[in-house]
Symmetry: C2
């Protein structure tokens, strides 16, 4: 190809990332442009889950990747695949061991997806980079790119849902850690508030403040519901147990944020995930802890809701390609 | 000066940093070469302390800076001043508020030292950069440069002494945080083990595991001594209360290291400070916590004693000049 043709081609083809988000209940894929927008009709979803076999999981992942790729519009090209996956992971080797998917331990997800899109037999014939990071890292990059953390150099992204996860941007750069597991804020200890056991650690934030653990604590106090949605409804109706449960969880999250800020001098924490939407008061309970901290540099940290829709994890996975310069070499 | 002369000069003058370490009990200064070695007879010390006035403190700082500078050997030049100071600090504005020096709140230490060495009236006439960072940041840079963390890209330096402080190197770069206060590991919370109150936070690591707090806890159990040295002696003699106190403190430090590693995927923690020398068993108690952690990426972190002598804080302050490329821009 002549230089003239090459220049022409670079100017007209819209670069798209093929974004993959793999979690404990579902896997999704979509095409995402360099402004963080999903290509219409390119988003596809399949179930995963604790009981899925390796063959089931590979079938689901392969299906969504191929379905997303087939939505490629005319005049566009796929320039890379970004994968956000539930942790722990091994970023150097591209292996994943999602806690809620017991059949995958050191599973080579990056290589599997590379084979689906690649030039080998049965592949899509694309010669493009495939990047794997933890989902909390991806979603933090999405907040920084098009969400609540735009223009902020020292950020923790958090998801409060079935579990509690996160990711870090420090001094404008993404912190993955050498193995890819930096950002496990759910496994930072919190003092004083004794919770239920998670992986043997009753003091881990996740063991106190995830959706299911908050509901479980409320049930020990007499709450009759079984879901986060029911707890949120009870809170809205003024139920005193729900009020105590939200206060306790907000305080626990606030204390973990205080610890992370003491360690990293954070400027902003952006929080999403289903349980974070229970009530805006949850954020007020977190902020009370911060507002009463003894260090001014801890009090400065802002805590805000995520500005991302349910597309956030996919936008974050796409950021691994479109914003690759923020990642470690 | 002609280019030829300039080249000649650059080749023969040995570049030295003027290193300053300011703490709650003393201030020290020395000249340090680009291999991290102190110039003989250049190290000077003056007292600081809780009762010192601003004039006393400025007199002490000025004295050690001038005394160190006057030790400049023939054939050498001072290329910069590096200051490590007890936190909190404000790195952008060069202000310090050391917890144990109540008369200094937002005190402009960087500008004061710049005036001592600078071209103005009464100054030494040097036109050189003056860099201020927290002492924990400096000592972590010293471990990474010539100590126990050489060649490791993801490191936490810790000091266990009257208080507990630290600093971070992540992906080979020093993390200062936007205000300069990243590394406050003593103010990360630890679950389950309830300690005495520090700044209103009984769950902060420092409130459980600093030298004075460990002794205070032992005294609640019947220990008759009052110093860390006495506790170490009692431990060596097999005293059961001293044994419990060391176990409790080691466990608390181990749990804080586990939290920091969950958040930052650390590879190595290097620990110095007077109380860390109480007994090597203290390190074994920390390692037991890590060895039993549920995440392999947490279990990988190594915990080692500092490889620095009492010169460590000065070498770290010098690293702010000689290793300035590791700092944020």
């Amino acid at each position: 190809m002549s230089i003239r043709l090459l220049v022409y081609r670079c100017r007209v083809l819209t670069p798209l990332a093929l974004a993959v988000d793999f979690g404990g209940t579902k896997v999704e894929a979509a095409l995402v442009d360099s402004d963080g927008r999903l290509v219409p009709d390119s988003r596809h979803r399949r179930p995963t889950g604790r009981t899925a076999s390796v063959a089931d999981l590979e079938s689901s992942v392969g299906d969504v990747v191929r379905a997303a790729a087939s939505a490629l519009p005319e005049g566009a090209e796929i320039v890379g695949v970004g994968i956000g996956c539930a942790g722990p992971i091994d970023r150097r080797r591209g292996l994943v061991s999602p806690l809620n998917v017991p059949d995958w331990r050191d599973y080579p997800l990056r290589d599997f997806i590379a084979s689906v899109v690649g030039a080998g037999e049965g592949g899509l014939g694309l010669d493009i980079p495939v990047t794997l990071e933890m989902d909390g890292v991806a979603i933090t990059m999405a907040e920084h790119w098009v969400g609540a953390a735009q223009g902020v150099d020292n950020v923790m992204g958090m998801v409060i849902s079935t579990g509690i996860g996160g990711g870090l941007i420090v001094d404008g750069r993404v912190i993955t850690g050498p193995t890819g597991n930096a950002g496990h804020i759910g496994h930072v200890e919190v003092g004083d508030i004794v919770g239920e056991d998670t992986f043997g650690n009753a003091s881990a934030l996740e063991a106190m403040a995830s959706g299911p653990h908050t509901v479980a604590w409320a049930r020990t106090q007499g709450f009759a519901g079984t879901t986060g949605e029911e707890l949120a409804a009870a809170y809205a109706a003024g139920d005193p147990i729900a009020r105590d449960a939200i206060a306790r969880t907000g305080q626990a999250v606030g204390r973990a944020i205080a610890s992370a800020t003491a360690l990293l001098d954070l400027e902003l924490v952006a929080i999403g995930g289903g349980f974070s939407h229970s009530t805006p008061d949850l954020f007020d309970r977190m902020r009370e802890v911060i507002d009463h901290h003894y260090f001014p540099f801890v009090r400065k940290v802002r805590i805000v809701p995520s500005a991302l829709s349910s597309e956030g994890p996919l936008i974050g996975a796409a950021a691994l390609i479109h914003r690759a310069t923020l990642l470690p070499a």
